[in-house]
């Protein structure tokens, strides 16, 4: 496996009185596509800049391939950055932009030509070598930035929201392309984004950050299906949150009392005590919506009225006001649309049902 592993241990960084990173620790494996995901201002860029060498941590260490890189200037580190703003050199052509690191290293001209053309073809820009950055589209600029960052054959590629300036369609396309470039070059990618869809679709692992803290590290599935905190649950995708008191517990099956919903069955291994206040979450697609009353053992079922159906082609999102007064969000896929399943419309009376096992405890506090 090419690429390096990157170990961040207990890194803190503050600007003036403001703490941008609080005791952050991460272990990024060789060749991994690792995402740093979090809302704006949570410290993602600061962490990336610390790895690249643009920011000195106040405390903690960063190891690349096991050796401490503190005090090493950016040009001495085997990582290259794809900047959010592209940072292409406006006075140079595409070719010269990509050739820049090689010219600095005084690589022989013939070799430069060969390497640059190879990297331009990796990002499918062979035909644009002689253009100036100002003559390129956003997506093309992005590709130049990627080719330029890869030409030094870094062992770690740092990408700071590289797609945020592109429109949705192009973003999807570039994301897939990034993924295939990652497969081809096989080095470690550290990918900063605030877009959970992006992170979920390409990452091997994701670190979710908020306010300078790492809240959870895991595979996309772990992050999505088993969020560690209420923040992670809310930040990744849509979700329903219940806050309730544990009434009884038998094995892993809890009965909880939730205000404006009534009693719910929650099957989760997290040890809780009777009397604890817990926060549980369930993803909308795990809630079935139907006109008929459902039945089943470990099943939660509530009755409600459709308050807002939101049609979006492949599915409809329903916001349902339940009998107790609370609101739930559910998705229904349109896979069987043509078979004429009964349509559910605004103000219809419906039943919502969901398995106790699909509810996940994300927070608990005693008493």
């Amino acid at each position: 496996m090419k690429g390096s592993d990157v170990t961040v241990s207990n890194v803190s960084k503050s600007f003036g009185g403001f703490t941008a990173l609080k005791d952050v620790s991460l272990e990024i494996k060789k060749g991994e596509f690792y995402s740093l995901l979090g809302p704006s201002g949570c410290g993602k860029t600061t962490l990336l800049r610390a790895i690249a060498g643009f920011e000195d941590p106040d405390s903690g260490t960063i190891l690349i391939d096991g050796s401490d890189v503190s005090g090493l200037s950016p040009d001495k580190r085997h990582c290259n950055t794809v900047f959010q703003s592209y940072a292409l050199f406006p006075h140079l052509t595409v070719f010269e932009n990509v050739a820049f690191p090689l010219r600095i290293k005084k690589t022989p001209t013939r070799l430069i030509k060969e390497l640059v053309m190879k990297h331009l073809s990796l990002v499918q820009l062979e035909g644009h070598a002689e253009k100036k950055p100002s003559q390129l589209s956003g997506g093309q600029k992005q590709r130049v930035a990627i080719a330029r960052a890869l030409i030094n054959e870094p062992s770690v590629l740092l990408l700071d929201e590289p797609l945020s300036a592109l429109d949705a369609k192009l973003r999807q396309h570039m994301l897939m392309e990034l993924d295939s470039i990652h497969d081809k070059v096989g080095i470690t990618f550290i990918y900063v984004t605030h877009d959970q869809q992006e992170a979920l679709s390409v990452s091997d692992r994701i670190a979710v950050m908020n306010a300078g803290l790492v809240l959870q590290v895991g595979s996309p599935q772990q992050i999505y299906e088993n969020p560690a905190t209420e923040f992670v649950a809310r930040f990744i995708g849509e979700t329903n949150i219940f806050r309730g008191k544990v009434l009884s517990r038998k094995g892993t099956l809890n009965v909880i009392e939730v205000e404006s919903f009534g009693q719910l069955l929650v099957d989760d291994e997290t040890p809780v005590e009777v009397g604890d206040t817990i926060v549980v979450t369930i993803r909308p697609e795990k809630i079935r919506i139907s006109n008929d009353e459902p039945s089943g053992d470990e099943l939660n079922a509530v009755r409600g009225v459709v308050e807002e159906p939101v049609y979006s082609g492949f599915q409809t999102k329903y916001i349902v006001r339940v009998e107790g007064g609370g609101r739930l969000t559910t998705f229904r896929q349109h896979a069987n649309w043509s078979e004429g399943i009964p349509d559910i419309e605004w103000k219809d009376e419906v039943f919502l049902s969901f398995s106790a096992r699909d509810l996940v405890i994300v927070e608990k506090s005693p008493g």
Binding site: D75, S85, A87, L88
Partner: protein, 312 residues
């Protein structure tokens, strides 16, 4: 849709330039082809005597010296102004620093020259201080030499270079420097290979704003220099007031203007190889795209900044 009245907008400026620039220039051209009057002035008869007189070795020597002094001063000024403009552009209180650059302009040009005389003169502040400290009783002769002229010229014209350089550097995207560092260049390489090419327009403006007035300098060499520090400006003045050869003075002035124009043309208007580059760097226009007002910021850059009127 609004009609573009482009050409009409320059009419007032065109009129102004015609009256106050083109006309006097034509008068000087005309004078250079007239016969010299006995006690100054001209007689209205055609003569190319003045242009013939120009080709004399003394004048050539002064011309070369003037070029040499102007070049030296300009180079020193640019080398000082680059880091200065950079540090102002990157500082948090740009307004204060710009203010400090401009403050000297509140004092008259001549007064500032005399200030240097009273600081560096034989009986000046520095020499008196040295004497007081018992270090050097007879004092130093700081002034009345070529070095002193260059020194005071650098002092006088430094702000004219700092302002356009600051203005361009301020618009420079500093992440490009980080990108350069990231891609393996040293700090120095990131300045020379990335920043310098991108602030070329500002450097050209700064060179023109300093070289041209220094080339025509008169007061500084007169008051600060010795007899051997005479520059072309002094020669012209002497021809007007002492030798009273107005046609020759006009001819020298015209040659200087031509020389400067050619130099500017070669230096600033030299067409870059590719056509695109012309769009990227428009050499003579000020970095902000206006002819005056250094402190104007391009649209889309919201940081607060003193306006041209407020400070200039």
């Amino acid at each position: 849709m609004k009609r573009n009245l482009g050409p009409a907008y320059v009419a007032p400026q065109a009129l102004w330039l015609t009256i106050f620039f083109a006309a006097p220039l034509l008068i000087i051209v005309a004078y250079s082809f007239l016969r010299k009057g006995l006690y100054g002035g001209v007689e209205t008869s055609f003569s190319i005597q003045a242009w013939a007189d120009i080709a004399n070795p003394t004048l050539l020597k002064v011309t070369l010296k003037t070029l040499w002094v102007s070049l030296a001063a300009t180079i020193i000024i640019i080398l000082l102004a680059l880091p200065c403009g950079y540090s102002i552009a990157r500082s948090k209180n740009q307004a204060l620093r710009l203010f400090l650059v401009i403050v000297p302009f509140w004092t008259n040009f001549l007064v500032r020259i005399y200030a240097w005389i009273s600081i560096l003169g034989n009986e000046g502040f520095v020499n008196q201080a040295l004497r007081f400290l018992g270090l050097k009783a007879e004092g130093f002769q700081f002034l009345y030499n070529q070095g002193a002229v260059v020194f005071v010229l650098v002092y006088m014209y430094l702000p004219y270079a700092i302002l356009p350089l600051f203005s361009t550097i301020d618009k420079f995207d500093f992440t490009l420097l980080e990108a350069a560092r990231d891609l393996g260049s040293t700090r120095m390489q990131s300045y020379t290979k990335v920043m310098l090419p991108n602030i070329k327009g500002g450097v050209i403006t700064a060179v023109l704003f300093t070289f041209i007035p220094i080339f025509g300098a008169y007061a500084v060499p007169l008051l600060i220099g010795g007899k051997d520090s005479y520059m072309l400006g002094n020669v012209i003045a002497d021809q007007l007031t002492k030798t009273r050869n107005w046609p020759l003075a006009s001819a020298i002035s015209m040659s200087m203007t031509l020389l400067t124009a050619i130099a500017v043309f070669l230096f600033a208007f030299k067409k870059p190889k590719e056509q695109q580059a012309v769009k990227d760097i428009d050499p003579l226009s000020l970095p902000n795209g206006k002819t005056i007002g250094f402190f104007h910021r391009g649209p889309g850059q919201g940081k607060k900044k003193p306006s041209g009127k407020g400070v200039a």
